[in-house]
């Protein structure tokens, strides 16, 4: 069975928090350790995408069987073993030179948190560049925050044809 529900109450939040002001006059309270972890995630994604430093990125992932990824390559993987196998394969395909992360929104609670942003990737050689829409879900585990889920694919302009999506006359199994 591929679906399950995880009750992941673990431990209370540390007291040290920062308040992030957003342009829409709303405020999201982001624990200081979460902000530090998200900054580390962006640094390690950069290493993964530009220098094939995937092992350092994998160290930030939850090693649990409910970790998951919907990567830009398509499909999905569940469980750290599948996630790590996919990311190692992906890193061999990537040839980007630069990476910049742009935060759109962050929501945080005691145990779960999420961030949404844009990842701008470019390669100097052939002028290749892309922007990924990215959602991350984080979970506070022992001893700290871990990346639990990543969903990313290229940002595209509004295209009403896309609501139809690529269609098939056959149902794919996965």
């Amino acid at each position: 069975m591929r679906g399950w529900l995880i009750d992941c109450r673990i431990q209370p939040n540390p007291f040290n928090q920062t308040r992030r002001e957003h342009s829409m006059q709303a405020t999201t309270v982001i624990p200081a350790d979460l902000q530090e972890f998200m900054d580390d995630v962006h640094a390690k994604v950069k290493g993964h995408a530009t220098r094939k430093e995937t092992e350092a990125f994998l160290e930030l992932w939850s090693p649990s069987p409910d970790a998951s990824i919907m990567a830009a390559v398509g499909g999905y993987c569940v469980g750290f073993d599948e996630v790590s196998k996919l990311l190692r394969w992906v890193s061999e395909q990537l040839t980007f030179d630069t990476y910049q992360f742009e935060t759109l929104t962050v929501h945080a609670d005691q145990v779960l948190a999420t961030s949404v942003g844009l990842e701008h990737l470019a390669s100097a050689g052939e002028g290749q560049h892309t922007t990924l829409r990215t959602t991350h879900v984080y979970r506070r585990e022992d001893p700290g925050w871990k990346l639990l889920h990543r969903h990313a694919e290229p940002l595209t302009p509004i295209d009403e044809n896309q609501v139809g999506g690529p269609t098939s006359t056959e149902e794919s199994a996965r």
Binding site: D7, G75, D109, L112, T135, R139, Q162, T167, E170, E171
Partner: protein, 152 residues
Amino acid sequence: MSVHTNHVSGDLGLEDFMTRCEEGLLHQLQGDSELLLAQWSHDAEVAILGAIGSYARGWDDVRSHILGAAKALKALNWTGLRVERIVTHVADGMAASVWLERATREVGEPRSRTLRVTHVYRREQGQWRLLLRHANSVSPEDEATEQSLLST
């Protein structure tokens, strides 16, 4: 017209809410956004990265994005939606679900379309609300490619 789901229960309030979201998504596929919009938080930092492309942030823009997508969807005559839940996480006042949405059309030539979807929910005044929807279409070829590389 039908909604099929793989039910996995734990937090009954969340389970009920996710079922309402699925019903709202079926209505959305058929061009009626009302039920789906009713599930959203009105927070200034809600966000949608919809299958139609681009993104919207803040309740007013998210609402416009959903209404715009419904107009386009209505013409496509989707008749069914099956949600395949992959994993759901819940802790205290926040939850996240990862699933596939398979829309089907049985009018004329049968067709299907698959979306990969991440939702984030928050409990507000005792009621779960949608905070984030990230959805993108994926082709059977994409899925086959990934399955192939994972089997090597």
